[in-house]
């Protein structure tokens, strides 16, 4: 027979196990798992105070970052490359605008210029800045913040390219004060770029032709590949004296012009309209890029306060005989309607998002021709972010 003491112990043990189970099941809340937000990205932007330079002339490259969301950074690491045969860093040419150079992490500053300039061929400048305050440096979504300036002296009158490497990154401060690396896009700035010839329309006497400037969402850098420097654009002309809209298409060429450093580059193209379009008033245009949502435009020089917000109803475009210069570069053509199955369907939907998701990281030309929205030569989270942003507009304007 078991002694009373042992029986009591067994009862206690059983009771303890059951009570533990019930407490665990009904009273202890399981910790919530917080998922991180959708991918945050940041663009590295290189701008210059000059677009062309002569031998011996200096120019300043400003390194900026433009994030997709608001967040703070503790540090940045930007690796700039240049060819020493083309340019050299000017004496005292490195200026950290935000943070201090972190020399223990290999940052270059003005004391490093002689060693960087020594030799020939490609050199890299390690621009590693550390923000000294605990709160870090707050970055605002879609706002370019200058980090560093580097002044160079040109050694040639020919093409000069200052680039960045894929190792460039931001050190982001998370909400729990941990740090995360955020890779920066690879980019470059080209000086003395040979101008892309813009075809000049030749129009029969009395005919109407258009010379258009367009701005496509997301193209913040010169296209990475030479075959990305022209884009076919569909233009529908309606209103005026037309009984029904007529459609024409034209190739638009990349230009190095833009309205500001934080604006996408401007593309330019020309087209002769058929004789049915006669000079007159009250026309409107429907403009659709090859990976973009169609935009209805009603005035000769439209503008908007926030990207993609321009809307119009009644056509007020005046077309004259001969060449009509229409500047649409102050409104965005939103990207997102990509030609997944050989053509666009007029809607930004899960087919477009899935194509980018399912081909993320690819660089082959077939995939890029369909979905490289920012023309940086790869399918990445920036293209994903652009198509997600376009979901707020969703369909072609008619």
């Amino acid at each position: 027979m078991l002694k009373n003491r042992q029986i009591l112990f067994l009862i206690f043990l059983t009771g303890f196990l059951l009570i533990t189970f019930f407490i665990q099941t009904f009273f202890i809340k399981k910790p919530k798992i917080f998922k991180s937000k959708a991918s945050e990205t940041a663009n590295l932007i290189l701008s210059s105070n000059k677009s062309s330079v002569s031998q011996g002339e200096d120019f300043t490259i400003t390194v900026k970052v433009s994030p997709s969301a608001n967040f703070a950074i503790q540090a940045y690491k930007v690796y700039l490359t240049f060819n020493r045969n083309d340019v050299l860093i000017k004496d005292s040419g490195i200026t950290y605008l935000r943070g201090d150079p972190s020399t223990n992490l290999g940052a270059h500053d003005n004391t490093s210029i002689t060693s960087i300039n020594a030799g020939t061929g490609t050199a890299t400048i390690n621009l590693i800045g550390e923000i000294q305050s605990i709160a870090g440096l707050t970055l605002t979504a879609n706002t370019a913040i200058p980090l560093v300036e580097v002044t160079f002296v040109a050694r040639t009158n020919q093409r000069i390219e200052i680039g960045s490497t894929s190792q460039s990154k931001l050190i982001k401060i998370n909400s729990d004060y941990t740090l995360t690396d955020l890779p920066l896009s690879v980019t470059s700035f080209v000086l003395n770029q040979p101008a892309t010839p813009i075809p000049t329309p030749t129009q029969a006497s009395g005919g109407v032709s258009l010379n258009l400037k367009l701005k496509f969402q997301g193209i913040m850098q010169p296209p990475a590949r030479s075959n990305q420097r022209t884009m076919p654009v569909k233009i529908k002309v309606g209103g005026g004296n037309l009984t029904q809209p007529i459609t024409v298409s034209a190739n638009f060429s990349f230009t190095t012009n833009r309205n500001s450093d934080t604006n996408p580059y401007i593309w330019q193209g020309s087209v002769n309209l058929p004789p049915s379009v006669s000079p007159g008033n009250n026309y409107y245009l429907l403009v659709k890029g090859p990976k973009h949502i169609q935009k209805r435009i009603c005035t000769n020089s439209p503008s908007e306060t926030s990207p993609g917000s321009y809307r119009c109803f009644s056509g007020q475009i005046q077309l004259q005989s001969g060449v009509n210069n229409l500047d649409f570069s102050r409104i965005y053509l939103l990207a997102g309607d990509i030609p997944v199955s050989g053509g666009q369907d007029g809607v930004v939907n899960s087919l477009d998002t899935s194509y980018i998701r399912n081909n993320l990281g690819k660089t082959d030309s077939g995939v890029l021709a369909i979905a490289d929205l920012n023309l940086d030569g790869k399918l990445d989270t920036q293209d994903w972010s652009l198509v997600i942003a376009a979901l707020s507009v969703r369909a072609d304007e008619e």
């Binding site: 189970f21 199955s341 939907n349 899960s350 087919l351 899935s354 994903w384």
Partner: protein, 197 residues
Amino acid sequence: MENQKSNLLTGIKFFLLAAILILVSSAFIFILKEKNKELVVNQEAPSISPPQNIISANKTGFLTIGSVKNQYSPGQLIEMEIVANSAGSDITGYDLIVAYNPQVITFKEAQSLVDDFKIYPFDEKNYLSLTAIKDLKSQRETVFNKIGLVKLIFSAKTRGETEVIILPKLDKKETFFVDKNTQKIYPVLSSYKITIK
């Protein structure tokens, strides 16, 4: 000596009994937990009345819409659930068009019932167009196997009848799943009649 032997036997019996009790308790706890899991799964997929198929030719999988009841009073919230079957395909996004009579019910909200998907609803006044995309970070396979996909919340407006219909196509928009090979999959669709009394 005899007394020591008896004590040893009693001790062994005690430990054996304790071990058996622990085993039985563990088994009990395990069974209860499993049962609890089943309850959660059942709650996620409430019973839905049999759907009426609208189009069934050349279709794969299905999307059925339903509610726990089909009669409501004006002012009441109507919770409808769309259940999906992707016939074994791993889905990375889907689009839906849901038509209804806006004079009888008003669209309030759409909630994804699958964690990995985020919904972008567009209320077009007499129909609802909805795009859902899979979280870029989610790498797990998402085969819809008769799971609750979306909860649609309407409010009952005035007395009358309306059929809430998942449409195959309207203007440029379509209802489809997209699989991991970026292929569109057109499922069999359904509708559900609601009466406001």
